[in-house]
């Protein structure tokens, strides 16, 4: 009989204690972040979206070779001897026109192996991770900044060179 009343007393007491706990939590600050509007700062080593500072790129293809999943595609055209493409920010001379520098983030495995070999430190990861799209092709990021006319002109020049190589100069 005593046990019976003790059980009832304990039930009521523990229920009240539990209600006290939940009531306190009713007024504590919630831990939720309203995601798209509030974002947590990620740790510095986080590997996220790749970015190329194309002005510093010398077209050495080191990153393309390092990529284990071949998500980087680079096409270059050699500059003429009299053309000056300027220098990179760490003093290297640029010798290549970059007609194409595409990174397919759909394929990227976020290993950051392309970041380390770059001699001019122009490919790196930027703190941006929410770039989902409806079309997989939208995940191919194009970094080449040549204008269309320049691009066409370079391609034609290259074709002409190619043609010149194929046909040996006529004896005159």
């Amino acid at each position: 009989m005593a046990q019976y009343f003790r059980n009832i007393y304990e039930t009521i007491a523990t229920v009240l204690i539990g209600m006290g706990v939940t009531f306190r939590h009713l007024f504590t600050k919630s831990v939720t972040l309203q995601y798209p509007r509030e974002q947590r700062e990620l740790p510095s080593g986080t590997r996220q979206k790749l970015f190329v500072n194309i002005d510093d790129c010398i077209g050495c293809l080191q990153c393309e070779k390092a990529c284990p999943v071949s998500c980087i595609t680079i096409e270059t055209i050699k500059a003429e001897k009299d053309e000056d493409l300027g220098e990179t920010s760490n003093g290297k001379k640029k010798r290549m026109y970059l007609t194409r520098f595409d990174i397919d983030m759909a394929k990227c495995c976020y290993c950051a192996d392309c970041v380390f070999p770059c001699p001019t430190e122009c490919i790196y990861m930027v703190p941006e991770f929410d770039f989902a799209t409806y079309d997989r092709n939208d995940l191919v990021f194009r970094f080449s900044n040549l204008s269309d006319e320049k691009h066409k002109e370079l391609i034609e020049r290259e074709k002409a060179k190619e043609a010149a190589k194929q046909q040996p100069p006529e004896a005159n």
Binding site: Y4, I8, V15, G18, M19, V21, T22, F23, H25, L26, F27, T28, K29, S30, V31, T32, Q34
Partner: protein, 349 residues
């Protein structure tokens, strides 16, 4: 005529010129419409409140997007979604019972609402056996639940329905006995008489009378009413982790919405009975606060009890079936009997 009819006749003099049968029909229709609107609005609000209370008790935020300010339109959007959903009836169900069950549950709840004393004037049906009527009509819900579970032809539904029947039928006894305490004190089953008896200050309310016995009766009623409306810790009939969704496993769309609406309306119903029987109904706690209308007090007190129901739900785990029966037959029923006997003896003395 009912107080509500007199109230309407005062408001619109046209009612006095009508023949009695027409006036009664129109007042009934108006009262029914108002009650339906009240139930729907209350259910929307209560679902929103429940989500917010549960979220904040778990240090979350709950719905925050729909409608702008703290997601206030979330439940409206959900209700519209439920209305627009396909009406799906499984192939092997008993179609007639399957369709009738939500209507019966909803209808029984609405019918019980008719006798609630919202304020001195706002009593849709002021019967001399109001309390008995409410208890009798709201017991019909268990038949609806049993119909839903059995006709679904699904083992989870059947388990849920069986548990609901066992639970509700058992818990009706402590509910009736604890309400009888108040009935013995007042000497009437009329809902407005029960409230009028408690006129005065908060210390005249029945839950503070008879040396704490009123309070014990109130607590017994409150605990048993949780089981009556299948709320945690007594939510065995729809225990998600064991029975998928219990008796309404096979229901979707509008029919599910009706069960849901009835469930939340039932929460308000039991809170409203507790309010009018134990907590002074539409009366303010002190006569000074008389300027606030009675309906505000009534709905406010009931909402407070609904909040406590939610508070308990997000605090306590679910009971086992044997614990549920133990609580009812070995604790609540003897205690309510004892309280009833002592109060009756005190009254005779």
């Amino acid at each position: 005529m009912d107080p509500f009819g007199r109230f309407l006749a005062d408001l619109i003099p046209l009612f006095n010129d009508m023949p009695a049968w027409l006036a009664i029909t129109i007042t009934g229709l108006i009262a029914g419409t108002l009650l339906l609107v009240f139930m729907a609005v209350f259910a929307l609000f209560a679902v929103y409140l429940e989500r917010k209370v549960s979220a904040h008790m778990q240090d979350r935020l709950g719905p925050m997007e729909v409608g702008g300010w703290h997601g206030w339109a979330q439940t409206i959007a959900d209700a519209v979604k439920l209305l627009a959903k396909e009406d799906l009836i499984p192939k092997n169900v008993d179609r007639i019972l399957f369709k009738a069950a939500p209507m019966l549950v909803f209808g029984a709840t609405t019918a019980a609402f008719g006798a609630l004393p919202f304020s001195a004037d706002l009593i849709p049906a002021d019967m001399n056996i109001g309390l008995l009527y409410i208890l009798a009509v709201s017991s019909l819900v268990v038949i609806g639940i049993l119909m839903a579970g059995w006709s679904s032809n699904n083992k989870w539904s059947l388990y849920g329905a069986m548990r609901a029947a066992a639970q509700i039928v058992s818990y009706e006894i402590p509910i009736a006995l604890s309400l009888l305490v108040a009935v013995v004190i007042v000497g009437s089953l009329n809902m407005s008489d029960l409230v009028r008896f408690q006129d005065g200050t908060i210390f005249d309310w029945i839950f503070l009378k008879y040396y704490g016995l009123g309070f014990i009766a109130f607590i017994i009623y409150f605990v048993a009413s949780l089981a009556e409306v299948n709320r945690t810790p007594f939510d065995l009939p729809e225990a998600e982790s064991e029975l998928v969704a219990g008796f309404h496993t096979e229901y979707s769309g509008m029919r599910f919405a009706m069960f849901f609406l009835a469930e939340y309306a039932n929460m308000f119903l039991v809170a409203a009975i507790a309010t009018s029987v134990f907590l002074g109904g539409w009366l303010p706690p002190f006569p000074v606060l008389d300027f606030i209308p009675g309906a505000v007090w009534f709905v406010g007190k009931s909402l407070f009890l609904v909040f406590i129901q939610m508070w308990l739900r997000w605090t306590l785990p679910r009971l086992r079936v044997d614990q549920l029966m133990y609580t009812c037959w070995k604790v609540l029923t003897p205690f309510s009997f004892a309280v009833l006997m002592i109060v009756a003896t005190l009254i005779i003395i």
